[in-house]
């Protein structure tokens, strides 16, 4: 059993090491520019990726500033899309599952915003629909993908690709969680550095 565990850890380690630091840095710059112009960050994904999106939003909106909430009146405005399960089911039921992200996003999305799309295959039709909407509006796209990156890898302005064999969801999602935490930690350190703890 220990061998099995070690192999999984090694595989995760290998996948994570191959992620481009340059693309993560680009993603950080995109988020930085959205903060400067007081825009919003919309994040979405399916299944486990949606859970990652929700988790990241709570960290990013609060934990980034938690060392000194009082000093930072201007915080991030990260929003998971759709914001309610009701909205998700309404779009899925009434219009189609491929519109569950693009549908609600269309109501909010402004040029000063950015989107973070999470899809292990990089090909989920509902994710691609939302990303194409952002592309048409010239809104910057951060893509977190796995396997061979799929369409999301081609469309993203900052493409964080966790290269794996097809179907290795656990490895991909685990690495995505690390990258998302890295982004949160970067900004936490950034604000600590500029304003102090």
């Amino acid at each position: 059993m220990e061998n099995y565990i070690n192999r999984y850890v090694e595989e995760s380690e290998r996948a994570l090491k191959e992620v481009s630091a340059r693309e993560i840095a680009k993603a950080i710059n995109i988020i930085q520019s959205v903060y400067e112009r007081d825009g919003r960050i919309y994040i979405f994904g399916n299944g486990g990726s949606l859970a990652l999106a929700t988790h990241w939003v709570s960290d990013f909106n609060k934990t980034v500033f938690s060392h000194n909430l009082d000093l930072h009146a201007k915080r991030f405005q990260a929003i998971r899309v759709p914001t309610t399960e009701e909205e998700l089911s309404a779009w899925a039921n009434d219009v189609g599952y491929d519109m569950v992200f693009a549908g609600p996003l269309q109501n909010y999305l402004q040029e000063s915003d950015c989107v973070i799309a999470i899809s292990s295959s990089g090909n989920s039709p509902n994710i691609i629909k939302a990303v194409e909407l952002a592309k048409r509006r010239h809104v910057s796209i951060v893509g977190l993908s796995g396997f061979d990156g799929g369409k999301l890898h081609e469309l993203a302005d900052a493409s964080i690709l966790v290269k794996t064999e097809k179907g290795k969801y656990g490895i991909v999602e685990g690495s995505h969680a690390v990258v998302l935490h890295l982004i949160t930690t970067y900004f936490q350190d950034y604000f600590d550095h500029y304003v102090g703890k």
């Binding site: 340059r22 840095a25 680009k26 710059n29 930085q32 520019s33 959205v34 400067e36 112009r37 007081d38 825009g39 269309q106 109501n107 402004q110 040029e111 000063s112 909407l133 048409r136 509006r137 010239h138 970067y186 350190d189 950034y190 550095h193 500029y194």
Partner: protein, 346 residues
Amino acid sequence: MVLVKLNIDMIIVRAPLRMSFVGGGTDLPDFYRKYPGRVISTSIDKFVYLSINPSYFINKFIIKYQSTETVDDPMELKHDRFRAALVEMKIKKGIELGSFADIPGKTGLGSSSSFTVALIKGLNALLGKTMSKSEAAEAACRLEIDILKEPIGKQDQYAAAFGGFNIFQFNPDNTVDVEPVLLGFKKRSLFEKNLLLFFTGITRQAASVLGEQRTKIEQNFETYKKMSDSVYEFRDRLLGGDMRGLAAMLHEGWLRKRSLASNVSSSLIDLLYQKGIDNGAWGGKILGAGGGGCLLLIADPERHPGIREGMKKIAEENNLADFKEIPIKFTQSGTDILFNTDHYQV
């Protein structure tokens, strides 16, 4: 993709000013048509703002900047950029435009091109069109260089449109490559802490300096080549946090630049610069085309109070009434539509 415009409301757009470190002048076509020109620059937290207000009640073009112009036909406008943009884009009567800036023009911070990028992006938003950063930069270059025939380069339009630290490469085929310099917050704040920026109180039109510079590109070709090639070394020193190294490169670049045209410097600018060095600055340069504008110095923060004092004294002795220190921070955002209530049907 044609977007359907649903309502008419004010649009607010802003573009950052820029600080250019190495390679200025290599963005002139006389050079980059023969050898790739390169510039390394960053946007700063000083902006040009533009508001665009279409109104059913105004049957005119009302343009507000330092003066106000009210005309029936944009061809009548004195302000050349407003005139060219409104005419080119066939904007209809019944509109009011106003511009605002954190810092006046002719300071060497690229504000006139920042203005143009903001204007073009804003007017496109009015027409229901969104633009990518490259499209906005290119459109501004077309307006200023091709239509208004200004003898300027392309670096300022790109710096304003993209934002952040970048290396821009101006290729012989007129394309431009943009390589972001991904600087972490520690190095970024280190650079901010070591840097001093002074407005000299001396202003000039970039065109007057660049005009002479352009005619001498052929004879100074090797110097320009060196300037273009040195952007990568500047980037590496920046990423390494080597403040003395950056200052030394700026100093060297400034000396080179002084040799490119007779009016890049003046005895008063030299005096200010020398005072900075005498008080402990490691190096620096005049920002922009030269002949006036802003002076950038890099020095140990402990030496900053002494440098400030020395500069102030020279400014007073020489009646530079507008001389002023400008505190700045680097920024990441480029030209952005900040307010637009139009929601596009897509």
